[in-house]
C-alpha cells in the first residue's frame, strides 16, 4: 500500500519487515474468523464436511464453530431459509457482535433455490440481512466453501480503517440492528427490508 511490493520483499529478505496499521489490523481479523454453528438444511452437511479432516476449514482460521452468536464473527447461512425460520435468522444476526460477516451458501440462501415457489420458502436471506459472499451450488462443494472463505478474507484485507468503505464497527453511522420481520397472516411483514435489498430490474 504505502510501500512498493518488491522493495518490501527485498527488505524482508534482509530481515526488516514493514507494514501498515491497516494491514496488521486486518491480518489479525481475517485469519481468525470464527463461524457460528448454524446449519439449516443440506448445505449444512457440506459445511460439516468442510470442517472435517479432508477439507479442514480450521487451516484457514475457522478454528472453532461457536454455538453462541455473541462469540461468533461470521454466520454461514447454509440451507433453505423458510419463512418460519427467517425472523430467527435475523434475530441471531442482530445478536452477533460487530465485525460480523455473512456467507450465503447454496442456491437456497441466495435466492430460494430449487424450492423457490414453495409456500414457506424465503427467496434469499439477503432480503433481510447484508450478505458478504454468495456461493452458488446445490450444494456447493467443500472446496467452494473454502474458496468463499478465502474471498471473504481478501474482502476483509481490503477494508480501509478510515473513510469510505470502512467496516461497520468503525462507523458511528453504521446500521447496528436490522428489523426482524413479523410473521403475518399470509406472509412475512415486510416481505423484504427496503433499505437492505432492492429487486434488480430484469427485462422479461
Amino acid at each position: 500500500m504505502a510501500i512498493d511490493e518488491k522493495l518490501r520483499i527485498e527488505m524482508g529478505k534482509q530481515g526488516v519487515f514493514v507494514t501498515t496499521l491497516n494491514e496488521l489490523y486486518n491480518w489479525g481479523r481475517k485469519n481468525s474468523i470464527w463461524p457460528m454453528q448454524f446449519g439449516l438444511a443440506c448445505c449444512a452437511i457440506e459445511m460439516i464436511a468442510t470442517t472435517m479432516a479432508r477439507y479442514d476449514i480450521a487451516r484457514f482460521g475457522a478454528e472453532v464453530f461457536r454455538p453462541s452468536p455473541r462469540q461468533a464473527d461470521m454466520m454461514i447461512i447454509s440451507g433453505t431459509v423458510t419463512k418460519k425460520m427467517a425472523p430467527q435468522v435475523v434475530r441471531l444476526y442482530n445478536q452477533m457482535a460487530e465485525p460480523r460477516y455473512v456467507i450465503a451458501m447454496g442456491a437456497c440462501a441466495i435466492s430460494g433455490g430449487p424450492f423457490k415457489q414453495g409456500y414457506n420458502v424465503l427467496k434469499g436471506i439477503d432480503r433481510y440481512i447484508p450478505v458478504d459472499v454468495h456461493i452458488p451450488g446445490c450444494p456447493p462443494r467443500p472446496e467452494a466453501l473454502l474458496d468463499a472463505f478465502v474471498t471473504l478474507q481478501k474482502k476483509i484485507a481490503a477494508q480501509p480503517l478510515t473513510g469510505e468503505g470502512r467496516p461497520r464497527h468503525l462507523d458511528e453511522n453504521g446500521t447496528a440492528e436490522f428489523p426482524v420481520p413479523v410473521q403475518g397472516e399470509h406472509d412475512l411483514e415486510p416481505p423484504s427490508n427496503p433499505t437492505q435489498w432492492k429487486a434488480p430490474f430484469v427485462i422479461l
Binding site: 414457506n120 410473521q183 430490474f201 422479461l204
Partner: protein, 217 residues
C-alpha cells in the same frame, strides 16, 4: 392378505352400522381404497389394528386431498320412450363431484408383513364443516401427520392430543395445499423465469410499474 372386498366384509361384521365403500383404483397398481364414514372410523381403526388376521399395526402415512367442486358431464345411455317406442338414447347428464376434503391413511402390518390398506375419510364440505375424528389414539404415528394435514388443508381432527400448525407459523391464516390457495406476490426478482413463473413475474411488474423496484404493500 385379504382383498378390499374381504376387508370390507370383515369390518362390516365386526363394527355394526359402519358405512363403507370400496373405491377401485383404475391404475395398474390396483391399490383400491376403503371409504370410511367418520362416525365409526375410530372403532373401525381399532378393529383393523387388533384383528388377528389383519393386524394392521403400522400407520405409515396420513395425507390430505382437496376435492373442489367440479362439474362432470357424462354421456349415459337411458331407455326412454320416444314417439311411443322404447329406445336407448344417449343423454348428457351434468353432475357435480367433489366439494369436500379428504384424509387418506396408509396402513401396513409389521407382524404379518402385509399391506398397504388404504382408508379414506371425507368431510362434509370445504368451508365450515371440516371436522374428522383423529386416529391418533389408535396409531401414535398419526399425531404429527394429522397436524400436517390440519396445517396444509384445514381438516380439524377431533380428539387429537395437540392439534396446531406444524410447518407454517401459528398466526398463518391460509391453508397452502388447498386448490384455492393464493400465494403472496413476492415475484419481484425472477432472473430466469419461464412458463407460469414468467407469467406471474410479468404480472408483478405490471402491477408495480415498469421499473418494478418499488416494493409496495
Amino acid at each position: 392378505m385379504k382383498s378390499v372386498e374381504q376387508i370390507k366384509a370383515a369390518i362390516e361384521a365386526a363394527v355394526p352400522g359402519a358405512a363403507l365403500e370400496a373405491l377401485t383404483n383404475p391404475g395398474p397398481s390396483a391399490q383400491h381404497s376403503l371409504l370410511v364414514d367418520p362416525q365409526h372410523a375410530p372403532a373401525i381403526a381399532r378393529f383393523l389394528r387388533d384383528d388377528e388376521e389383519l393386524a394392521l399395526d403400522y400407520l405409515s402415512n396420513v395425507t390430505g386431498v382437496d376435492w373442489p367442486v367440479k362439474e362432470v358431464t357424462e354421456k349415459v345411455k337411458v331407455t326412454k320412450t320416444v314417439d311411443g317406442i322404447e329406445q336407448s338414447v344417449e343423454e348428457t347428464i351434468k353432475r357435480t363431484t367433489g366439494g369436500y376434503l379428504e384424509a387418506v391413511y396408509h396402513l401396513y402390518s409389521m407382524r404379518k408383513k402385509h399391506g398397504p390398506v388404504t382408508l379414506r375419510m371425507r368431510t362434509i364440505n370445504r368451508t365450515d364443516q371440516v371436522g374428522l375424528p383423529s386416529l391418533t389414539p389408535v396409531w401414535r404415528s398419526a399425531e404429527y401427520q394429522e397436524r400436517e394435514v390440519f396445517d396444509l388443508y384445514g381438516i380439524v381432527f377431533s380428539n387429537h392430543p395437540d392439534l396446531r400448525r406444524i410447518m407454517m407459523w401459528d398466526e398463518f391464516k391460509d391453508y397452502p395445499m388447498r386448490r384455492d390457495y393464493v400465494e403472496p406476490d413476492d415475484y419481484d426478482y425472477e432472473p430466469t423465469p419461464h412458463d407460469d413463473v414468467l407469467a406471474k413475474a410479468r404480472a408483478h411488474q405490471q402491477r408495480l410499474g415498469a421499473s418494478g423496484e418499488e416494493i409496495s404493500q
